[in-house]
Subunit: 205 residues, 4 copies
DNA sequence: ACACACGGGACCTCCCGTTTGT
DNA sequence: ACAAACGGGAGGTCCCGTGTGT
């Protein structure tokens, strides 16, 4: 089918945009680089995307969808205990980031760092992507809170944003430190904090 | 005196570089912009800095020195209780970031996000700047741990890195969300976690 | 046809590069000058050539091809006597250089003078261009040697390199002296030397 | 003495200019490079020389003086036979160029190649430097011609220009070929030609 | 005699996007 | 759908030369 062939090119462009912008950010990724990486000519690029900004938006959508899939495949609903879901979330993040190896990072966060103050329109998009992840997380945390009255009260959404911040910061530092052990240690602390909110000892397995 | 005039220009260039790179990152900040912002010609720029990379390094040094001063002026040593020092650290961070208003961010973190995977030499510099902050924080945490045997054991350096990650992530998200309350809430959670390590209730005033 | 239009631009750029680098060398020829001379925008320049070095390489190829054509149109094969071919070679050179008028010179030699010690990669290319001319000349000299046992033995390749040196030096001095008679006199001496190798009197018509 | 210290700096600048322009030509040698190579600040440079062109002129004077000294120290006058003086001239050239090793070249010729068609004033200076060498050589050749009526008549000045051309060309090609043996072979051919003019067999030792 | 801040501009590179053609 | 020629302009580099002061 031709349609498949076509979207192949578009898909390759998006994949390349994700890979390159994840590594080098928005400004330092050129359309030419994306085309070269995707093995596609510039003519095709501008057929599919009106501008670099447009492919960036598409790439972020793809990136978010990818993470939505990861969370979906975590099958939280098969866990009866809501608190287990919280831990599985952290498990999933940990596994995913460790797998990234040297190319660890969040594409949305990387671009947001550069462009938030330069482009108000993009800024809103970044926030909406963050919000999507936060909403997902908020649900899980709210369920846990409902099931296990916390030792200390907390706002699930606020805690979710806190977790997102922590994720972004961990990825940022991980990019520089290039030490996988660091990610694991960081997540361990987060897990400990969440447990502490529910009155659990921090060394819970 | 001429010497003052001279260093004025260099200083202005560095200040502009910090302000602009903090906002827009490394690639999206042009030498022309820095010069225009500093009110200096490009010819003068090249007299002081051999390249954009060089002024970036100088700007990061300045930035780190600025934060070293902020920590120095926190006068931790006048607090007898080591745990109070931990909280004053968080107080200082909170105040500083709230003051930033819309221009919140960490210059080193912003540049590190883009350049860590593109320039190995710079990467080491980023890490060294992070490390400087982490070392300072580690000392404070280690003192607190020595004075108050924690309910849960922790490695002070590891926790300091965790805090640095949290700071970077918070600033990144804050750039996009542009909601000062978010920073306060985030720090509150961090404070709660540190307290929990020492067995204190999270709602400690 | 568009293809013709397209290669026109590339061709014009190469022609301008040859003309300008022949006159002013590599460093003193700017891409802007080449573009202006060719009536082409700099954007187009970069479409065809990745760098000034690349157009220089293309220009040298063109230059060598041009001289290969000149030698080919000399129709040496229609001369039965190999020694006549040697003289026709000198005739051809003489005519060509006299025709140049004030713009006399060898583009490869001119660039080689500046860049041989600065760029090892280019150096090899210069040598290969010289070698091509030398190979052609060597064949002619070897044929003559085979037909007319020389009074003094000589290595045809060595003599060809000697001739090439002489050509380059003559063009260099001619650039400064701006005296066409000088070229003719110089070639006369060369002719006399070659003849002397074959035991002919130097004043042979 | 202070005056000595001063001229030290000027001398170092000239020496560096010679070395650098010999290698890379005029345009590709920057004033900054000359200063760095000489270990002198740019302030000093412009104290001694009004422009890059001026130091180039001074450097060429120095270069010519250097060669005048080499010829002077050849002590041609102690040779009774004028033809021996011709051969000593070639001996001296050969030794000098072989000694240069990888940095072989003529500073005047190198700069002349780039600048002859760009700067008419400089062009005249180049010619005058060439002329000085040619005059010296012409005298030697004229003496030989007077002593040994040549088998073939020749104009000493014309032959001297021919020799200068040959020298420049040899140095140019030598820069690219980087093969010392080539210089020796080239000079051997020249020697053979001169001998042939006087009716000597080419294989004269 | 010398040092150095400083200026203005030119250089090469190359980027993003349009136009043209198939 | 795709390819490629093409344009305008900006980005980083850095060069030559001037000025001021010591």
């Amino acid at each position: 089918m031709q349609a498949t062939v076509i979207s192949d090119k578009k898909q390759k462009l998006i994949d390349s945009a994700i890979r390159l912008m994840l590594r080098h950010g928005y400004s330092d990724t050129s359309v030419d680089q994306i085309c070269a990486d995707a093995g596609v000519t510039k003519g095709s690029f501008f057929h599919y995307f009106a501008s670099k900004e447009q492919i960036c938006l598409a790439a972020m959508d793809e990136w978010s969808a990818h993470w939505r899939d990861i969370l979906a495949s975590a099958k939280f609903e098969e866990l009866a205990d809501p608190l287990d879901r919280v831990h599985r979330l952290l498990d999933v993040m940990e596994q995913a980031y460790i797998q990234c190896g040297t190319d660890v990072g969040c594409m949305v966060g990387t671009v947001a760092q550069e462009m938030s103050l330069a482009n108000a329109e993009l800024r809103k998009v970044f926030v909406s992507h963050f919000q999507a992840w936060v909403d997902e997380t908020t649900k899980i945390l709210a369920d846990a809170k409902a099931a296990y009255p916390p030792r200390t009260d907390f706002d699930p959404a606020e805690l979710a944003w806190w977790l997102q911040s922590f994720v972004q910061g961990t990825l940022l530092i991980a990019k520089s430190r290039q030490d996988p052990g660091f990610i694991r240690a960081n997540i361990r602390h987060c897990r400990a904090y969440v447990d502490s909110l529910f009155g659990l000892p921090a060394d819970r397995p």
